[in-house]
Amino acid sequence: MRSTAPPDPTTVPQGATGHAGPRIDMIGNTERAIRDRALQDALGRALPVFRQLRNEMAAEIPEWELLRETAARTKDHVLAHLDIYLSQLEAQVTAHNGVVHWALDAAEARRIITELARTRGVRRVVKSKSMTTEEIHLNPAIEAIGVKVVETDLGEYVVQLAGDRPSHIIAPIIHKSAASVAELFARKLGVPQHERPEDLARVARETLRAEFLAADMGITGVNFAVAETGTLVVVENEGNARLTATRPRIHVAVMGIEKVLPRLADLGVFLRLLARSATGQRASVYASLVTGPRRAGETDGPEELHLVILDNGRTRVLADPKLQEALRCIRCGACLNVCPVFERAGGHAYESEYSGPIGAVITPALRGLEHASELPFASTLCGACLEVCPVKIDLPRMLLELRGRAVRAGLAGWMDRVFARAWAFVMGSPARLRVLGGLGRLLQRPFVRRGRIERLPYPISGWTAYRSAPPLAATPFRDWWASRRNASPPDASGPGTSRERDGQ
């Protein structure tokens, strides 16, 4: 990607869907999140476990790095030949009696699916967890034509009952406690207030089993679509996606254009990486490889299979050499689990179905940077995400790229602009640094108490909200060096400063 022509630095991706919404208030959201004790407890309990399991599972495979490398190169290859592989996928799905639909944006995808429901007399829809259908806001569109739609993944079911939003790609209610689910079920389903998760899961299972039996359309996402065989792969642990893709007479699968893989055998690489990276399992409990609807003589499986292939901003990411790599993403959530910012902010802070480091890249890329310009700054650039990414997406590099674009597009705050210009001015010459450093030593005097600064003024007061600051040293290193050089023998003066001045 680095070898191709650079994008016009002044371009900012434009919103694709037409309802990108107002600017995402990431800074304000994180400030609220860290004060939410229950959220902090839930994240602090769950994420270290995810991380540990993932690390154990990655370490168990000696050729783990080879798998990552192969996966990254396979995805790059697909992205370079996407038209060929999508055409091949279409031909194969069609050959197996499936129907392929193409959607340029969210509205078109919604229209395709609601039309299918309308023309086929669908009354009830069941859905399994799919970030893509979250992205296109499908449920309200289905409800608007008078059709009932029920989320069947346990977490998504809770989200739907609560009128909430998922906060993690693979663990949608990681922000909720079992007690709050118990309260919700009691209120909404009229069941006793169960405390144990297994009882709550049983309530959901029983309620949802009835929905499965009654549904006439099932909607799933697609984890991988195999071009050479027309096979759609749906990965899960609960069995709800299997039910969704099996029981109703119509199965609708929705995928982004980047989900296609060339060969069936590529699944050997990707399924292994996905399960171990996502939930730290050797394999997910279920991987359904669906090749067409039910065949002659079969007694179950859908009578119709529809595949919706969605763009919704992805081709713009594809056209962007510096961000294209983001389309390798297999939505495992490993970068969320390992991100220390996500661990404190939670998924809702990102105001998008894609959160964490990958969300901080994808949301601005899909919706337009002007709506999400704070997201790329929500990172210490610690690099933990890149280390675990199963397809080796260089997230820190892309976060930096987006920061640069935000600045060039005039989306940086005044504080940032003042700081950056002042910094470049002061550091732009050693003489200026000397003079202004000296001035700083004078100006800081009223703030220094016992060798520390406990309160800094706005706009850098954020620093002293959580820590004290060291004052500028009485003698900068460069002066010590100069005096040492002038003295003879070289070490006679000894170290010219004290620990206190270093704030230690």
Binding site: R2, I27, E31, I34, R35, Q40, P48, P340, V341, R344, A345, P376, F377, A378, T380, L381, C382, G383, A384, E387, L400, G404, R405, A406, V407, R408, D416, F419, A420, W423, A424, M427, G428, P430, L433, G437, I460, G462, W463, A465, Y466, R467, S468, A469, P470, P471, A473, T475, P476, F477, R478, W480, W481, A482, P495, S498, R501, D502, G503, Q504
Partner: protein, 240 residues
């Protein structure tokens, strides 16, 4: 005597000169002839990480002018070295001549522990420091430069030093440059986790290869009245 140009970093120059002095002493003890090009200021990372690439580019050019003649450049900061090595070449992607020059420079720029262990092959620098020490691997050194063992080997060779295990060591301390002010709450929460780990470890001293992370950690420890001191790796290695 190996000639080494010291890039002391702006933070150490202006706030923590003692770290710079210790770096000089450690390098000299390792047999280096240390020089300090006085025209140096800042690598530009502070502006680069905040998206101000134009400003970063001008500081990078200044760095290039100052250090281009040096046979080896050593800095007491994994973060600033990662800036030079990883990001300078990308900053000048569009100007081949400059790109080539920074590329050459990048290969000669080293973090202190990296230079001592990987280039000079030295781990024992004659230091003695009787204290329980926890090592925090700064992210840009650890993941940016791949320095996992080097600082630990140097610490293991310090006499009377007891290295204690730091829980969740690989997790970021929450500094992140301007992030620490902009996302102060999250940064503070990450710092709390780090400080809890440090105190749990039983360390009297926490050390790292970066003055920036240490400024953040020390600021938090002082604020909470902790007895644990923060010291740069160079300061520990300079103790005798």
């Amino acid at each position: 005597m190996r000639p080494v140009a010291l890039f002391v970093t702006c933070l150490v120059d202006q706030l923590f000169p003692h770290i710079g002095e210790c770096t000089v002493r450690v390098l000299e003890r390792a047999g280096c002839a240390v020089s300090f090009p006085p025209a140096q200021t800042c690598c530009g990372q502070a502006t680069f990480n905040d998206g101000f690439q134009e400003q970063a580019r001008s500081l990078a050019r200044q760095f290039l002018d100052v250090f281009e003649g040096a046979p080896a450049i050593v800095a007491p900061s994994g973060s600033c070295v990662a800036m030079v090595r990883e990001w300078y070449p990308q900053l000048f992607e569009e100007s081949p001549a400059l790109h080539e020059r920074v590329q050459a420079l990048a290969h000669r720029t080293y973090e202190l522990s990296e230079y001592l262990v990987r280039v000079l092959g030295q781990t024992d620098l004659g230091a003695r420091f009787p204290a329980a020490v926890a090592y925090h691997p700064s992210c840009h050194g650890l993941r940016g430069l791949g320095l996992r063992e080097e600082p630990l080997r140097l610490l293991a060779a310090v006499r009377d030093l007891r290295l204690v295990e730091l829980p969740r060591a690989d997790e970021c301390c929450g500094f992140g440059g301007f992030f620490s002010v902009k996302f102060a709450g999250v940064s503070g929460a990450m710092l709390s986790t780090k400080m809890e780990s440090i105190e749990k470890s039983g360390a009297e001293v926490v050390t790292a290869t970066d003055a920036s992370c240490l400024m953040h950690i020390a600021g938090g420890l002082t604020r909470r009245g902790s007895r644990v001191r923060a010291m740069h790796l160079a300061e520990v290695l300079a103790e005798q």
